[in-house]
Symmetry: C2
Amino acid sequence: MSENTPVHIASKVSKQRLLDQLKQLAFFGALDNGGVDRQALSKIEIQARRWLIDWAYSLGCKVFTDECANLFIRREGQQDLPPVVTGSHIDTQPCGGNLDGCYGVIAGMECLAILNEMKITTCRPIEVVVWTNEEGSRFSPGAMGSSCYVKPELLQSYLTHKDINNITLKQALQQCHQHFSDLPRRSRVPFFSFIELHIEQGPVLETENRPLAVVNGIQGVRWYEVTCLGESAHAGTTPMPIRQDAMTLARFTVDQIEQSVSHLPVDELRLTFGRWDIKPNAINTIASRVTFTLDFRHANPDVLAEFDLIIQQCMGDNIQIKAIFDHEPVAFDTALLSRQCATAKALHIDHLSLMSGAFHDAMHLAEHCPTSMFFVPSHRGISHNPAEYTHPDHLHLGAQALAYCLAELANQD
Amino acid sequence: MSENTPVHIASKVSKQRLLDQLKQLAFFGALDNGGVDRQALSKIEIQARRWLIDWAYSLGCKVFTDECANLFIRREGQQDLPPVVTGSHIDTQPCGGNLDGCYGVIAGMECLAILNEMKITTCRPIEVVVWTNEEGSRFSPGAMGSSCYVKPELLQSYLTHKDINNITLKQALQQCHQHFSDLPRRSRVPFFSFIELHIEQGPVLETENRPLAVVNGIQGVRWYEVTCLGESAHAGTTPMPIRQDAMTLARFTVDQIEQSVSHLPVDELRLTFGRWDIKPNAINTIASRVTFTLDFRHANPDVLAEFDLIIQQCMGDNIQIKAIFDHEPVAFDTALLSRQCATAKALHIDHLSLMSGAFHDAMHLAEHCPTSMFFVPSHRGISHNPAEYTHPDHLHLGAQALAYCLAELANQD
């Protein structure tokens, strides 16, 4: 059956249906400015889930859920083997775009739809999963559904977390479960593999003029909060030599930290001083206290460990350092990565390899099963923003690459 | 009458009464933390005015007010000549100390009290003035009473200014005038001279270990607001070379501005970047917009003009510059300054000369009459703070110097 080769399956991906269904999903929580506000487990997200489940049923799929309200849309295979899984999330930032997360879910559904149309039954089941609360904008932390899937013991500690309206995660989950009381709950099952398709949310693909990336891992991250202490004094009366200007100290400290990582290749470097708090923050008063955050990311755990040491050395009587978050780098499965490169070659897609600087559900799944990701370009790198945009041809190519991989993987014993 | 020499008059200044009366005044608006909150034209400031007026009447003085509610406490002289004037203000910052402004008023009153005790009638009248709203913390701008005294046409434009409770200056002035309807209103009269005694609000006298400064002028000032524009982007996904980080641009701009004035002698330099606003101010997002203020002061108008040019040259596509305030340097009256130096010598007070980096009512009076100031030390330069402190011996010395000068000036034809 040469018509059922992965190349042939990929060729059947419908750009139009992909775009139409993305547009349909974007109606749920649509903002006047073209963006989307669809918070995790909200009424509007529950409506979007209902729409997706109806589509799944129309394709003859089974749908399961679990304690954390993750959704599993399952197309059965010839054998009851661990499924090949794809998917992402459908919650958004408060003023997000219509691609972040949604693209991976809709493209996965498109793959199921093609297999239906082609009347192909794969060896293994294929599942499209919708992970709960990836953005973390309603309940912290983000990537909650995927992390609780991999480590179910985490959920208990999250249940008391509240949104800005004082609704607990427990209440929000109960409400969601009530809406979908018809869905069977399923405990964790082994996955054969997990491949997540996502927009890059960065500018590299566009800059390099490539339509596809094989993502070989996720950078590790360190978040620190640095507080520099000085003494507030009058801007007019205090001579420079005896000032203790906390902002001057903060600027010096930032310079030092930049200097300490200047030996790293610039294309590997991600160092951001994003949040600042200045006290008393008055025109004619020298700052007494400046707190700033730093976000450092790198793919190499040794570089991250070295960075931790550098930061510890910055501490002093007037410089306080607080570690507020960290995550080690994740390397995706090398066999999957090879398969993805072969996929791109087979489909004549000019791709490159890169590390993800952003977190994704795949970061957690990598602890559960062979995992990796595809990226398609983000115009000007913009994401978490109504202006989030990927050219339809690139959305199409990404879904084709996904279809190819899923078809191959699902026919493996 | 050798007993009535200025030296003798100065020797009669009572340290105890000076401290007692400062303490009395500090009860009005006393805070639990030892500080004072006495906003201009507030009920509590009106009570303080009443206390001061009662004291003035007990000394046999006349009391006048004017449109802007400035208070003039007048001890008549032998002749109806333009008065020798001293004084300052009694309004405070929201969490201020008990010396800023108050010291100059109480010390002036102490001088009148001595002359009474010594039964001296000076040739000229002596007046102690309480200028309205010097701090500018309730109604902007600061130094309102003194500026409106010198330029009465200004008041009309200030009447609609509101405090944080939406009370207009006009309403606050009406309320104050109602309380003091017994006081005659007086239009502007010529002053023979104005000498303001004040705490330094800076650390120079303490650092130099001198109890008194003859203040030869007030530095000119430039306030600018600089806005640096970038593009917000993901801290993890955006490579360094293509970032447009507004905070990086702001830090670079601050470095450039510092560099541009690095040729100035460091003891003359006053350059402060005090207020910062960062957008979106998130840990993992590159800043798209950073606005900071700069406060530059110098005694030389040419240096200030050169600085204006330097700042204009910083402007660019991504750097917006807005001038928000400026004031030219003020040079105090040279004849008065010589007299003050002679005073210090006669009283064996080890003094120095300095420029004021802070604004004072004297800045405006200098346009009306020969004007100058004395400073006494501020411990650690702290002001606008409950910890504001000057050693009682220094408060005493400053009042003696004032008494000496007033006595000399008031006996001039």
